[in-house]
């Protein structure tokens, strides 16, 4: 459902991505691997409209979304839980989640349903729902960020290193949650440092290096590919 072709993008006229092609299929978990600085975050930012690409096309469900503003892309069904979280620190956890559903605000009952789903997924957030999100610990904030993306009721969920800064137990929960979310038919595009675990839950994977796709294939193949194991999984 998401097709990226020939995408180049970067910062201040310096390209970080060079003509990248990837696709994320409906209802699948697609994982993006790569060393630090290989361009995963840049890729996501470009897809969700935070960065303007210098070349290439992005299509979502057959419609071109290249160069549309970020706010419009959320409306089109792509939600992005970004690196660095970008919460509204002075607002309560609940308000953060409610604003996540800003583009779907008309459908009140669906919103309430989504909110409850998030609280089920991360019970601690329910406990802290009236606290300003800025006073939460790093890990708790990460949960809010994912939750906020979920309340946008997306067809495709982009998660940029959702396990960053999370306790192992929570990482497991989060990845389980990702599987859970995926099972409801939402496509997931995931970047993870924890490549082994990510590949275990994913259907398909890409390996980026210096802004180019160097390897791609089914998650299983990648997990057992010796090159990948050596270079990216530290085995």
């Amino acid at each position: 459902m998401l097709t990226v072709t020939g995408l180049s993008a970067g910062y201040d006229a310096i390209d970080v991505l060079h003509s990248v092609d990837i696709t994320a299929e409906q209802g699948e978990i697609t994982v993006l691997l790569g060393a630090n600085g290989s361009g995963k975050t840049t890729m996501f930012k470009t897809i969700s409209g935070l960065i303007r690409p210098t070349a290439g096309e992005i299509e979502f469900n057959g419609k071109p979304i290249t160069r549309r503003p970020a706010s419009a892309i959320v409306g089109a069904g792509i939600a992005h839980s970004p690196e660095g979280r970008h919460l509204f620190p002075k607002m309560s956890v609940e308000k953060n989640l409610v604003l996540g559903g800003y583009t779907r605000r008309k459908n009140r009952s669906r919103q309430r349903e989504l909110l409850n789903q998030v609280f089920e997924l991360f019970p601690i957030l329910h406990e802290k729902r009236h606290d300003p999100s800025g006073s939460l610990s790093g890990g708790q904030q990460q949960m809010v960020a994912i939750g906020r993306a979920l309340t946008a009721d997306p067809r495709l969920l982009i998660l940029d290193e959702p396990s960053m800064g999370l306790a192992p137990l929570v990482v497991k929960q989060v990845l389980e949650a990702v599987v859970e979310i995926n099972r409801t038919g939402i496509g997931v595009l995931l970047a993870e440092q924890n490549a082994t675990q990510a590949l275990r839950i994913a259907h398909r994977g890409y390996v980026l290096a210096e802004g180019r796709v160097v390897l791609s294939g089914s998650a299983d193949d990648l997990l057992h590919d010796s090159d990948v194991r050596a270079a990216y999984l530290g085995m």
Binding site: E83, G138, G139, G165, L166, Y232, G234
Partner: protein, 260 residues
């Protein structure tokens, strides 16, 4: 020998006990790790040790001297350096200048020395430069020295932060998630770096969620939950501690992480 002695440490934010009655002995030349679920109070403990927060209870003794509630600039002078959970650098300065900033606390030169270019001032500047380059080389990032710190890759930034801390010539280094956001592969490199730091005689305190790193590096582990100590011991002890498994590691994870 005990380098840092913490007794009954507590910090309250409004009604929330972020840290409560924590005792800890950090032995010289060892790596002490602090782990625990998110929001357990790990970063808060670091903030208390380095003087960024004032404790609401308890004492901190460093090298036999009471440093409870001292300002950060005195604790750094005393020999405690730290890095932040989210990397924090002077982004508009070059990598070299960042590390040179770490030398400030060890410098005695004044504006007047700088204006008059006194010999002692020049000698000191030269010495600082040597020290800074040494720290850069040690961290393996000397070739980035003239790049702006905000423009180098994440991993390099993390190394710069460590180099800056090293340049202050600490006896105790507090690292808050040094490998956060780093791939597993590069995490191994960070582990090596931390080992080398200890080999130079610097004691390290470490907060991390990467169990492979913690288990292979730490001499002793403190486990916090809800601001309180739930366990303290060697990695082997911690791995098997049912309370830790329940609160933090998760049942099968302990074994899995152990394999790697």
């Amino acid at each position: 020998m005990t380098l840092l002695e913490v007794r009954g440490l507590g910090k309250q934010f409004g009604g929330l006990h972020a840290v409560r009655d924590v005792d800890l002995d950090v032995r010289e030349g060892e790596i002490t790790a602090i782990i625990g679920p998110n929001g357990a109070g790990k970063s808060t403990v670091f903030n208390l040790l380095s003087g960024f927060y004032r404790p609401t209870a308890g004492t901190v003794t460093f090298k036999g001297r009471d440093i409870t509630g001292k300002k950060p600039y005195t604790t750094v002078r005393d020999g405690i350096a730290r890095t932040f959970q989210t990397t924090n650098l002077f982004e508009d300065s070059t990598v070299l200048d960042n590390v040179l900033s770490g030398r400030i606390v060890r410098s005695r030169s004044t504006v007047f020395g700088a204006v008059l270019q006194t010999p002692s001032f020049r000698r000191e500047e030269q010495y600082n430069l040597t020290k800074a380059m040494e720290a850069l080389e040690f961290a393996g990032i000397a070739h980035y020295r003239d790049d702006l710190a905000g423009e180098v890759p994440q991993e390099v930034q993390k190394r710069v932060a460590i180099a800056v801390a090293l340049a202050t010539e600490p006896d105790l280094l507090l690292l808050d998630e040094p490998a956060g956001g780093i791939t597993e592969d590069e995490t191994v490199g960070f582990g090596d770096l931390i080992r080398q730091i200890v080999a130079r005689g610097i004691t390290v305190c470490l907060v991390e969620h990467k169990m492979s790193m913690i288990m292979s590096l730490a001499d002793r582990i403190l486990v916090l939950d809800h601001g309180q100590t739930i366990a303290f011991g060697t990695p082997d002890e911690i791995k098997r501690d049912p309370k830790v498994i329940e609160a933090y590691l998760g049942a099968d994870d302990a074994e899995e992480e152990g394999e790697e």
